[in-house]
Amino acid sequence: MKNIIKVFLTSFFIASLISCSNNEESTVVNKSKVDLAKKNVAIQNFRKALIKMSDNRNVLISKTGFDNPVMEKESQDIIYLSAKELLLANGMNENEIFTKCNNNPKAVIGLAYTILAQNNQSTNISNQ
């Protein structure tokens, strides 16, 4: 039992070290592949999709036991394509997206959120 605990603690320590060493890795970006104009369009499209999802919130977002509004499939469908477009415009290819996101639409959307946050641009967006 002691040995198992030792092994667990050692692995936890190693895992923590690696997690920390990966702090600087944000999203997969190949700068040479990034077309800035295309990327800006993709960012705006993703924002518009997020606004549309929010406008449809009452019918598209379900709530779990403690009133946590969890993004469901209908909401994903609204923003998934624009999220993927943003990842492609940010220099990733289809294979990289598939590998990094493990074929999980929520992971694709999650990565797009991260890219969006890293590219703060004040732009007026209409709800249309």
Binding site: V7, S16, S54, R57, N68, M71, Y113, L116, N124
Partner: protein, 177 residues
């Protein structure tokens, strides 16, 4: 060999989890101010709760976003160590009751003991125009998951959504349209 296998399984098991992230998207034409962030235990108990101690309010101009994510990759603790994030807080206060609390820098050696295990996001307090909102899980009767208001002649809506990518890997998204 057995030890090695356990080591490998545990190691990759831990790596499959990712950090929790708070994202505030201000898609409105108004300026949004983040006044603070609050978390609670995984058991949804009111206390202990942990609140950011605001050195200066965080301003989000119209059309911009801010994030807070953990550089520690902790499986149990909320990402308090936020100094590397856009929502950077250098001090946090742990409340064990409405009137009892202790405070500590988030990057100090007391980080673990101060914050304990099993913490999760509860709400962010934001100001839109002249109105303050607590937006989050709706727990403790103090926060809302969706709301709307008017600042001057500009109307806006605020929503809260969780993008649960995998167990332990959650994005908490507050969006102002």
């Amino acid at each position: 060999m057995k030890k090695f296998l356990i080591l490998v399984v545990v190691f990759f098991g831990l790596q499959s989890f990712a950090q929790k992230t708070v994202i505030v998207n201000n898609f409105s034409s108004l300026q949004v101010t983040i006044l603070g962030l609050n978390t609670i235990g995984n058991n949804n108990a009111v206390y202990p709760s942990i609140r950011s101690v605001t050195p200066a309010n965080i301003i989000i101009p119209a059309g911009q976003s801010r994030t807070m994510s953990s550089p520690t990759g902790s499986l149990t603790q909320f990402p308090y160590n936020s100094t590397a994030s856009a929502m950077a807080y250098t001090q946090w206060r742990r409340f064990t009751s409405a009137t009892t609390s202790t405070t500590s820098p988030n990057n100090s050696g007391t980080f673990t003991t101060l914050y304990g295990n099993g913490q999760k996001f509860n709400f962010v307090e934001i100001r839109v125009g002249t109105t303050n909102w607590k937006v989050g899980t709706g727990l403790n009767g103090s926060s809302v998951t969706t709301t709307s208001g008017i600042s001057g002649s500009t109307s806006y809506t605020v929503t809260y959504t969780e993008n649960v990518i995998a167990p332990g890997n959650v994005q908490y998204i507050i969006q102002i349209n």
